[in-house]
């Protein structure tokens, strides 16, 4: 997977992963990998700065939670109402882009 291609859609991927419930970093990496059959391999070096950026933008909110297995708490991220709006907008932008590209390259025969 081209890292630049991933970078361009990282925010959308992260917001979409949180759409159906709270997740912490490790779960997000696994979810994205599973949902895309390993096509996207998120590096945590990119993930945590990106999550912090989305949190600063007010689109997601982080909260430390203890897990049943014990040990140190993990930071659980939840989509905020503002984040839901942003996800809708980014999704629409992506769809427009996708349709435009498809118009040029055509459908897969």
């Amino acid at each position: 997977m081209d890292a630049q291609q991933l970078k361009g859609h990282l925010d959308l991927l992260l917001l979409a992963t949180l759409e159906h419930g709270s997740r912490y970093g490790g779960q997000i990496v696994t979810d994205v990998q599973t949902a895309t059959d390993g096509y996207f391999n998120l590096r945590e070096g990119t993930l945590y700065p990106a999550l912090h950026r989305l949190e600063k933008a007010g689109w997601i909110a982080g909260e430390f939670q203890l897990l049943p297995r014990g040990g140190s708490p993990v930071k659980m991220y939840t989509l905020t109402p503002g984040g839901r709006e942003e996800l809708k907008a980014q999704r629409a932008r992506y769809e427009r882009f996708n349709t435009a590209v498809r118009g040029i390259i055509g459908e897969n025969a």
Partner: protein
């Protein structure tokens, strides 16, 4: 300090106060989670820890990403960048493609190596106790600081005045178009290359003294990942960056930029991956580009003048230092076939030219120095080449 704690410290370097404590807690939780999952699969704790840290990747990459998110005052940046479009026109007329440079103000050793109660409160009691005790000893603070500074890559002038960079692009015949409503996203048209390049340098921008500065690494990495043209950096001090018709001098007499400091990240990437492949070991590499007062040896190496020489020392592996070991490397320009190296307390040091010989020496606790040349002829694909083995000699 355990490997995990050292990793956390490095990965959050540049943050302070609550932001640092939170980021450390988050990463600690993430690491423990990975370790726990691996031990569930039958891996022993030591292997699981090493695997977890390797998966997380370079702590410096995390630190750099987090620092940019947390130390960039958004409002200030907006104000600083607001006038860029007008500045572009004005500076293009002046047409002087010289770029002023400055060090990253958050990376100075005095800020990172603070041993005081505020810092101790961010640690666990077990970590803070020996440090508090060490401070009560004669010369204790100086020793702690010296050790911390030694492990800290010193700040160099690797931030470039953003308006200067843009003016230099324009002066070189590139067309720069800022994308409205974005910060640090530009479209560049480069003569000789088809189409417009998306030049996204948002992550590398910092406000220093009220001006926007761009990390020279971000500039270099963005240019070489985007262009199909060869990218060259020529000259040891205040080097000239060339790609297409762009011809940009980085640095000035008052705040010089050294080419070796800009390419040291490439060496890190090349070395850490080759050592991982050779040993399967998640050894840590620390670079220190600032000459130390304790340079004890001179390495003689027969290379053409101006050759960039990489030296990797295993002194932290073979010494009696109780700290967790790491490899220390430096990238320097050979001056009359010599580069200075530091190997305190060692009379006999073996210079070697293969990774295998270096690993063997380290396992036998023999002081060794691994020597490479860096071939920067096209920075899209920098390469390490062996140094001519027969010419290597270390003089005390």
């Amino acid at each position: 300090m355990s490997g995990v704690e050292r990793y956390l410290k490095q990965a959050t370097r540049g943050l302070s106060g609550q932001a640092r404590r939170d980021a450390q807690s988050e990463l600690r939780g993430a690491i423990e989670d990975k370790i726990w999952r691996s031990t569930l699969l039958g891996m022993d704790h030591g292997d699981a820890t090493r695997t977890a840290l390797r998966d997380l990747g370079s702590p410096y990459a995390i630190a750099s990403g987090l620092t940019q998110v947390h130390t960039l005052p958004k409002a200030a940046l907006g104000t600083v960048l607001a006038g860029l479009a007008c500045l572009l026109g004005v500076q293009a007329l002046a047409g002087v493609p010289v770029v002023q440079a400055a060090p990253d103000p958050t990376q100075t050793a005095p800020l990172l190596c603070m041993f005081n109660e505020a810092a101790f409160r961010t640690m666990s009691a077990a970590q803070a106790k020996p440090l508090r005790w060490a401070l009560t000893q004669p010369g204790g603070r100086a020793r702690l600081e010296a050790d911390c500074w030694f492990r800290t890559a010193r700040p160099v002038n690797n931030y470039l005045r953003f308006t200067d960079v843009l003016a230099a692009f324009t002066a070189g015949g590139l067309t720069v178009r800022a994308m409205p409503g974005t910060v640090g996203l530009l479209m560049l048209r480069v003569p000789g290359q088809d189409g417009e390049l998306e030049f996204n340098v948002r992550e590398g921008i910092k406000v220093i003294d009220g001006h926007a500065y761009l990390s020279a690494w971000t500039l270099l990495n963005t240019v070489r990942s985007k262009t199909t043209l060869p990218v060259q950096l020529t000259g040891d001090v205040n080097p000239v960056l060339d790609f297409g018709p762009a011809h940009i001098q980085l640095g000035t007499v008052n705040a010089p930029v050294r080419r070796a400091d800009l390419l040291v990240g490439d060496v890190y990437a090349l070395l850490s991956s080759s050592v991982l492949t050779a040993t399967g070991d998640s050894s840590e590499f620390v670079w220190n580009q600032v000459p130390s007062a304790a340079e004890t040896h001179r390495l003689m190496v027969q290379v053409p003048p101006g050759t960039l020489v990489v030296t990797v020392s295993n002194q932290q592996y073979v010494g009696e230092d109780p700290q967790p070991p790491f490899y220390l490397f430096r990238l320097q320009v050979a001056d009359q076939g010599q580069v200075p190296v530091s190997f305190p307390n060692q009379r006999t040091v073996q210079p070697v030219t293969t990774l295998q010989a270096f690993v063997t020496a380290t396992r036998q606790r023999q002081p060794a120095l691994l020597v490479y040349r860096l071939d920067p002829s096209d920075l899209r694909t920098p390469k390490l080449a062996p140094a001519p083995a027969s010419s290597l000699k270390l003089n005390p």
